[in-house]
């Protein structure tokens, strides 16, 4: 069986949706060029036509608002932002409008839009071309936020997001595009049935990641196995609404919690995970204080000297665990 890459898995998710749901259409910048979105939308315009795959002017705000509006009228639009940083022009449509449309009108209307936002960083691209702002969006009631870290989820979470009756921000990461796996046949799953997932069993420490940081956690924990450290690894998958149940059960067993996040520390996703666990475990459960690995408190540097220090990687995680814990 030929393995599928993460980026091809996204493509197959789009293909499935476009084939089976005539109300699905996609708009955003760079949809007709491989440069912006890699292979994730390759030839969709040729297969499904430029009416359904719309490469747009440089107008994030209007395009996102238009997607929200179309979603209120029975379509299932997907708006693509090739970089999360560009999407900040669209904050009103996302935060003030889509997130609240169902609530404000007593459930009479809803905005089932999907906003695909790509984290694209590194390569000295600097402060405005690197951000991972998932925590911001996870703060907002009314929008679901998903971050696939596995190849399987890259496809399946996309499908669940687009079929969800609520607005969803689907965040994929360029640094995962080369990951490969064998894909199971497609089975539609409602997004509200999806929760964090255990990717590796262990009983000494619970490590939680999301998106790319899950891959780092998984790789680091496999290496730590040979040092005799048995880590249990969780992938958040759905950041909002956040269901902490399975992670809580894990921490009750391992009694240690480490969260790795590709965002900043202050008011970040790592803080949220730690708080939801700490406020639910009996005092004195934890052997060590809960810990988090996040970005340093500064914008993404352009300099390659600083970039090496800026982003978490496997070695840094292993060193952090070895330095911080005595098992």
């Amino acid at each position: 069986m030929i393995k599928t890459t993460y980026s091809d898995a996204i493509l197959s998710g789009f293909d499935y949706l476009l084939k089976n749901y005539p109300e699905v259409f996609i708009l955003g910048q760079g949809l007709w060029s491989p440069w912006y979105v890699g292979n994730t939308m390759k030839n969709l315009d040729k297969k499904y036509g430029k009416d359904r795959i719309i490469d747009t002017p440089v107008s994030e705000s209007a395009c996102t608002g238009a997607a929200v509006g179309a979603s209120i009228c029975g379509m299932k639009p997907i708006v693509v932002h090739p970089r999360m940083d560009f999407m900040l022009y669209a904050m009103d449509s996302i935060v003030n409008q889509a997130a609240k449309w169902s609530y404000m009108f007593g459930g009479q209307l809803n905005a089932p839009v999907t906003i695909r936002s790509i984290i694209n960083r590194g390569g000295s691209q600097g402060a405005q071309h690197s951000q991972a702002l998932h925590s911001w969006f996870a703060h907002i009631p009314g929008i679901r936020v998903v971050m696939p870290s596995t190849v399987q989820d890259a496809r399946d979470l996309l499908i669940s997001s687009v079929l969800s009756p609520d607005p969803v921000i689907y965040i994929d990461d360029r640094w995962l595009y080369e990951q490969t796996a064998n894909l199971k046949p497609i089975k539609e799953t409602p997004l509200n049935a999806l929760t964090p997932k255990c990717l590796k069993k262990g009983d000494q420490i619970t490590i939680v990641g999301s998106g790319y940081s899950t891959l780092l956690a998984l790789n680091a924990s496999k290496k730590l196995n040979s040092d005799g450290v048995r880590a249990e690894v969780f992938d958040l998958r759905v950041l909002n609404p956040f269901n902490s149940k399975s992670i809580l059960d894990s921490v009750l067993k391992t009694k240690r919690l480490l969260v790795i996040d590709s965002g900043w520390k202050s008011c970040g996703m790592a803080s949220e995970v730690i708080t939801s666990i700490v406020e639910n475990v009996p005092t004195n459960t934890l052997i060590d204080p809960p810990r988090r690995i996040t970005l340093p408190d500064c914008p993404a540097p352009s300099s390659e000297v600083h970039e090496k220090d800026y982003y978490p990687n496997e070695e840094k995680i292993i060193k952090f665990i070895n330095d911080s814990y005595y098992f």
Binding site: Q29, G30, W32, S33, P34, W35, Y36, D55, T56, P57, V58, S59, E60, S61, A62, D85, F86, Y89, G123, S124, Q125, G126, A127, Q128, H129, P296, D297, C298, P299, P301, S302, S303, E304, V305, H306, D309, Y310
Partner: protein, 313 residues
């Protein structure tokens, strides 16, 4: 700084990018030099200039420190931004160049504010906002035009219309290939100029800028031009994954702003082919000296990662 030096500097950067000496992305404006050169001739150090992702010419227009540009593009601590920015984040405060960044249209309202500040300060200084045709598609551009007009803000919008926004030709993005209609809609005085004719750009911008300094008002110049390289980095043939039209490129190269000026001056007998050769040699020497110097400089200190996030400690 002259068009020839800006051209040669960018060609040097293109080669370096190809040879992997430059780490970050570079957006080259080869072919578009006349615009920044023509506009900058009218500026003083207290004016306030903002650029975007394709701004080597904009900064060199007012600050001729080639070494600082090369060092910045190479990520060295002697660069315009101390090696913290690279090609996409340039600034030179003492020359009035207050920043260029890669969020499309991001600096347009900032330039507006800079103009508003100089109006309040009654300094007679003006703001320059360089932007591309693609940047006119962001809503904030239109908000800025309106606000500039109703508040009489001394800002000159300089739209470099090179007909492309990355891989997308104007005809795929807008109903017309020109954008000066947006200025007209806001009652802003505007002129459509040949962006490859430095004399015309100079004439138009000096007329507008003279008026702005006397009486704060916004103006908009639309300069039609073409970039010789693809959207990003050093390739001529491919533009963000899409093949470029060879025919268009060749035709536009015939409208090279530097050759046009040189030939016109030779025709008028105020310049000679020999003088042009001598100049070209001198330019190349200038480039090489500054490039070699920048190559030898240091990268920023690893320990400076958290510096300058805030001004307070």
């Amino acid at each position: 700084m002259s068009m020839s030096v800006i051209r040669a500097a960018e060609i040097k950067i293109a080669e370096a990018k190809k040879n992997r000496l430059v780490k970050g992305p570079v957006h080259l404006g080869v072919g578009q030099e006349a615009i920044a050169v023509g506009v900058s001739k009218n500026l003083r150090n207290t004016d306030r200039i903002f650029g975007a992702h394709r701004s080597h010419s904009h900064i060199l227009g007012v600050d001729n420190d080639l070494h600082k540009l090369f060092a910045e593009v190479l990520g060295k601590n002697t660069g315009f931004s101390g090696g913290m920015g690279g090609s996409m984040h340039l600034a030179s405060k003492s020359k009035g160049f207050l920043g260029s960044v890669p969020i499309v249209t991001g600096t347009v309202p900032l330039a507006l504010g800079a103009g508003l500040a100089s109006k309040l300060q009654k300094s007679g200084d003006i703001a320059i906002s360089y932007l591309g045709d693609g940047a006119t598609e962001e809503g904030v551009f239109h908000e800025s035009l309106n606000f500039a007009k109703v508040s009489n803000i001394p800002i000159l919008f300089v739209v470099e219309n090179n007909l492309f926004s990355s891989h997308m030709h104007m005809s795929l993005r807008q109903p017309l290939n020109t954008i000066n209609r947006f200025a007209k809609a806001h009652e802003i005085e505007t002129k459509l100029v040949d962006g490859n004719d430095v004399a015309e750009i100079y004439r138009t911008s000096s007329e507008f800028i003279r008026k702005m300094r006397l009486q704060p008002e916004p103006y908009l110049i639309e300069a039609i031009t073409y970039r010789w390289f693809g959207h990003v980095d050093w390739r001529e043939d491919i533009d963000v994954g899409v093949a470029r039209s060879k025919k268009d490129l060749l035709n536009w190269k015939k409208r090279d702003p530097i050759k046009r000026l040189s030939n016109a001056m030779i025709d008028k007998k105020i310049w000679t082919i020999e003088k042009q050769h001598t100049l070209d040699l001198k330019v190349n020497e200038l480039i090489d000296v500054n490039w070699e110097k920048a190559l030898k400089d240091d990268f920023p200190d690893r320990k400076s990662l958290l510096d300058n996030v805030y001004k307070y400690d």
